[in-house]
Subunit: 260 residues, 2 copies
Amino acid sequence: MRNPDNSDTPFREYILRTSKNNFSKIILALDLQGSPSSKLLRSGRSLIEKTAPYLCAVKVGRPTVLNLGTEKTRALIKTSHANDLPCIIDDKLGDIDEVNSAISQAYFNLGFDGIIVNPIAGWKRGLEPVFKTAEKEGKGVIVLVYMSNPGASDSFGQLVLRNPKEKPRHQYEIFAQLAEEWGADGAVVGATRPEIVRKVRSQLSDDIQIYSPGIGTQGGRVLQASKAGSNFFIIGRSITRAQDPERAAHNFARQSTAEP
Amino acid sequence: MRNPDNSDTPFREYILRTSKNNFSKIILALDLQGSPSSKLLRSGRSLIEKTAPYLCAVKVGRPTVLNLGTEKTRALIKTSHANDLPCIIDDKLGDIDEVNSAISQAYFNLGFDGIIVNPIAGWKRGLEPVFKTAEKEGKGVIVLVYMSNPGASDSFGQLVLRNPKEKPRHQYEIFAQLAEEWGADGAVVGATRPEIVRKVRSQLSDDIQIYSPGIGTQGGRVLQASKAGSNFFIIGRSITRAQDPERAAHNFARQSTAEP
């Protein structure tokens, strides 16, 4: 089952097309909290509808799925598709194969077009089935290369000696290499660390896009991350909690497509 | 809110008590798949009720929660508590602080007594709020130190140079140290790697228990892991798909408490 409203478009082309059409590299991060779920769905739909002309995709977090429940999540994804925007689930999935298969298949069945995974689980009897299913169904897989929170530097920034004969490499360089080897559609690198974005961008081939969360509230800046090589900017509260979300999205969209 | 049926017992003492009472170190891993959810709940409850006298806890995976939905998951946890068994959610949670807070709080509100987390997210604006909430509510936090699948060796087994002046250490040694520093109640090390269990056991203080999945179908053995130092054995299909689950659980329980 491919994207219901884009039945012949694999994820990678889908998001490039919407980005080009809307002159935007902004992905709206929806983290809907509170209750009742019907009110959350209304607020999520309204945010998508207001900002859709200035977005290239929508990213939904796990708490949102939890708070909405299955059917209302499906409805939210439909709103995203009705506005011609792919919808990504930010799961950071990293478990053994059977669990990864069950969770990713459930998301794809709900209508999600792409999923974020945690490469620490490895390939063999780990993430392999997620990539295989995604390829078959035209879905996208985006690999976590460097998280945006301060504590992430201890692990994603550590030096690793995978081969004792080679020079030590940073963990994020190894994860970026895995993204390449595994055929990922994208790599997540926090906008809070532009120097890391620059290194990962120079390492990855051009057809793997860099997705950067952490813009705004967490301290990252669009122009800085864009100069460093981020391709898409994941923005949540700076749009959703703005007095005028439409205007905020529009401003970010213009920054995201300005010549670096 | 502490364990509803064990209102004064923090997780760590709760599972040690049930283990002692039932002469068992076996944790039943419930991975309920298929539909309808009412049938899954019946089958999960029946499995718990049949095997409860030979268990010390129940571990529920994410696909089970997804397939059951919120209210039936709550009912399953109630069955676990009614049989005087703590119930652990195997989430491998590793996100930024806000997501970690929302997800772990939702699980604790449902009645789960403990949660498995992925230490790669780090402490600062990462896992810190999970540990703080757990401590306040008497819940348990169990840190993933080495996954059970073959592909996990690339990352969990890699050599890391966190301090350039020190000798490189294995990733799992670093994660075990974090489990200690963060005040975890347990560490997950796959029973498929008894030599790693032995090293981690010698590194951890006695009050941090080692939880070992991968027994049976995945190739790990109770006696071998027990000799190496595993404290609890997580077993799924070898019990749930046995012709006689009660008898299978009983056999594993006897192996788990035999003198090593």
